[in-house]
């Protein structure tokens, strides 16, 4: 029986001298995909899903006080304590406050009626809908605290109101108060809100007409789709633990959640199929090239057997060669994978999860060996079983 150290030397030298690049490449592709998907996949998926989720509105839910539907019930609104409690829940990404109704006022710009929908919002409103300042800035905590008379406009409203840019710095009169335009809000989720005028919630409660100017609408942006339904179940209990509340209405995108879930599942299946396909291709490549080299070296096998090699020696040699190629592919794949991860992380501005990468290396090598063993075993067994006389006669 050949000593393992000798076997390794023979196998590795030979494979390095006769590199099977095709096989190595296809395995490395599978391994690179595997490590890439497994290390950054979750982060990437979370990002993609959170975008998809945002578009589909599925991670946002609104809770509204509905006391006005019941006569003789005093107005209710969400307290700071309640909002803080929500902000500290693990599944909650952002919690913002707004008003159940908007005030609509009419003004005239050059013989044209312009309706202004006024909405009081707190500084977290923007985060919930992932809105940004298209021009100027958004409303912040200082505005909130100082109850400032400032406003942020949707772009369509700004165009209707003013002839020319810059809109920032212009003045808007609402109920005899002058509000300075500090910014124009933009973002995917603006939608019909491009016709809205946003003012600090505090300023709204000071100056707009009661009873609609309380923070009676809670906006929650959840971290993932899976966080939505559990919190809805617990909602009354959660709010009641902080404050008294008579009637609540919870709105969320139930059907969209199902759709987005399906999309995520399909993406998963696709990625898994990709990995499986390229690893399968690698195993097939190993199988093919092992058989090819058994055929190509039939006479050499005969000669080795003549020299006194045992069948097991021949088998181990060919299996070793398959594993060697698979591991070379694995190493190359790890390298490609890490490069890809670095590139993706850099492009997306994500931190590189080095620990996860290092933990994946042994898994990748094990997967590569498995591929090598899957593809290489049968050809190796065949090589070992070869009959010397016919091997030597093989043309």
């Amino acid at each position: 029986m050949l000593k393992t150290s000798d076997l390794l030397r023979i196998v590795v030298k030979r494979q390095l001298r006769q590199l099977k690049l095709g096989v190595i490449l296809s395995i490395s592709l599978g391994i690179a995909m595997f490590i890439g998907v497994d290390v950054v996949g979750k982060d990437l998926e979370n990002r993609i899903v959170s975008d998809v989720a945002l578009i589909g509105n599925v991670t946002i839910l609104t809770v509204t006080m509905e006391e006005h539907l019941y006569p003789n019930t005093p107005p209710h609104f969400f307290t700071d304590k309640t909002v803080t409690m929500f902000k500290n829940l693990p599944g909650v990404m952002y919690a913002g406050l707004s008003m159940r109704f908007v005030e609509v006022i009419r003004t005239q710009v050059q013989d044209k009626n312009v309706y202004i929908r006024i909405r009081g919002v707190d500084p977290f409103f923007w985060k919930v809908y992932e809105l940004n300042a298209y021009q100027g800035r958004l409303l912040n905590e200082i505005d909130e605290k100082q109850r400032s008379r400032v406003c942020v406009l949707g772009i369509d409203l700004a165009r209707n109101l003013f002839q020319n840019e810059p809109y920032v710095g212009k003045t808007l009169t609402i109920f005899n108060d002058n509000y300075t335009v500090v910014g124009i809000a933009g973002g995917l989720m603006m939608r019909s809100r491009t016709l809205d005028c946003f003012i600090p919630l505090t300023a709204a409660s000071d100056r707009l007409i009661a009873p609609n100017t309380y923070p009676n609408m809670l906006l929650l942006r959840m971290r993932s789709i899976d966080d939505v339904e559990p919190i809805i179940k617990k909602m009354p209990e959660l709010i009641l633990s902080q404050q008294n509340t008579p009637y609540l209405k919870i709105e969320y995108a139930k059907d969209e959640i199902t759709t987005v879930r399906t999309i995520i599942r399909r993406v998963h299946v696709l990625l898994l199929l990709g990995i499986a396909a390229s690893l399968g291709l690698g195993a097939f490549g190993i199988w093919q090239s092992s058989f090819a080299s058994v055929r190509e070296r039939t006479r050499e096998i005969g000669l080795q057997l003549a020299m006194g090699a045992e069948q097991g020696d021949i088998m181990r040699q060919f299996l070793g060669e398959a594993l060697c190629n698979a591991l070379l592919g694995g190493l190359a794949g790890i390298l490609f994978g890490i490069i890809t991860i670095l590139a993706v992380c850099m492009a997306m501005g994500m931190p590189v999860a080095w620990l996860s990468i290092i933990l994946h290396i042994p898994i990748c090598l094990a997967a590569a060996s498995l591929v090598g063993a899957l593809g290489g075993t049968w050809p190796a067994v065949q090589a070992g079983r070869m009959d010397v006389a016919s091997a030597l006669r093989f043309e």
Partner: protein
């Protein structure tokens, strides 16, 4: 050859030459081999003594290679008896046969001279790996032997880049590295010109005389037969001593 003597082979030379009677290495009797209905060998008998060289000649397809494979325990005959070094070789199982080959036989085969993608040194080292000789000793023995076949300078060369004659010398070195008692060579001079054939045969003769190795050479070259002590003509499936 002086080098060869220093590598432990001299011991065997001494014992062999100390014997007055020449030791009988291989005795095959009435070997029959059929391929289906085709009778390749119909009762071949042959004896090989230590330090003797026997040629097996005959037209192409007469069964020379078949006979050599049977003698080398690489193929089973359908009938006949075969003893080697006092053992009934046909009763050994596959493992024991492998062990016997490793210990007592050296092969030079018709179809395959060298291992591809290997250096000369690795080629010659190969049989010693199967015998479990430590690497340091292996390399020393390989270098000694390569010197004796004038290939020491090419130890690190890729064997498939060598000329036909050089490859044949590698094959010889590889066949001799395990200190075999018997060398089985199938057309070792097939690829060589007249001058190289003579050099090779002279070399075989020295191995034979100095190391008391018994050699069987399959050939159809009369020039080769001239170097041999016995010449078997294989005809109609039987061997006749010429």
């Amino acid at each position: 050859m002086s080098r060869l003597r220093r590598t432990g082979m001299t011991v065997r030379y001494m014992t062999a030459s100390a014997d007055t009677a020449v030791e009988e290495l291989l005795t095959a009797a009435d070997i029959v081999k059929n391929y289906g209905s085709y009778q390749a060998l119909r009762g071949v008998s042959l004896t090989l003594h230590a330090g003797r060289m026997a040629a097996v000649m005959g037209p192409s397809g007469c069964g020379k290679s078949t006979l050599l494979l049977i003698l080398g325990l690489l193929q089973k005959p359908d009938a006949g008896t075969y003893t080697g070094l006092g053992r009934d070789l046909l009763s050994l199982d596959a493992r024991e046969q492998a062990l016997f080959r490793r210990r007592f036989f050296g092969f030079i085969l018709q179809s395959c001279a060298v291992f591809s993608y290997s250096t000369v040194e690795e080629n010659v080292e190969f049989p010693l790996m199967y015998s479990g000789v430590p690497r340091r000793e292996r390399l020393a023995r390989v270098m000694d032997l390569l010197e004796s076949v004038n290939l020491a300078g090419k130890a690190q060369a890729r064997s498939n880049l060598l000329s036909g004659g050089e490859q044949q010398r590698v094959a010889i070195a590889r066949a001799l590295i395990g200190n075999p008692r018997v060398l089985l060579a199938d057309e070792p001079t097939g690829q060589l010109d007249g001058e190289n054939t003579q050099k090779l045969m002279a070399h075989f003769r020295r191995v034979c005389d100095d190391l008391a190795v018994g050699i069987i050479i399959v050939t159809h070259d009369p020039q080769v037969a001239d170097y041999c002590d016995t010449v078997y003509q294989l005809r109609d499936g039987r061997a006749i001593v010429a």
